[in-house]
Subunit: 70 residues, 2 copies
């Protein structure tokens, strides 16, 4: 739905995921993440999709529950 979404370079996505830029390229080639190609062949990624992937964790997301002071 979002068309006015910033595009990120492979290097930027790599930094966010803490992986090598080449790994991001492999994700795109494997269809694990959407990508846009520049006329020159370089890939660009939608920031909204990247942030969604970064937020999606399994079950360890809890608020800072205050532990019982015993």
């Amino acid at each position: 739905m979002e068309s006015s979404d910033r595009l990120l370079t492979p290097g930027e996505v790599a930094s966010l995921f803490r992986v090598d830029p080449k790994t991001v390229t492999r994700w795109a080639a494997a269809g694990r993440i959407g990508s846009i190609r520049t006329p020159g062949g370089h890939r660009r990624f939608r920031e909204s999709e990247v942030r969604a992937l970064l937020s999606g964790d399994e079950a360890g997301f809890a608020e800072e529950s205050q532990a019982t002071s015993h």
Copy 2:
């Protein structure tokens, strides 16, 4: 709600805690520590959370004993 904090690899977290990387994986699987998954399935950990745990911060530790079949 800091989503903009650096991520650590399982190996880095393991080194910080002086445990085997497999143990870190078990913590994540058990929900004892939050984790992010790369599109390839590898785990990444939030540095802020790891540092909090290393500092002896017990926040997040709930005394949820399940079925104390003592």
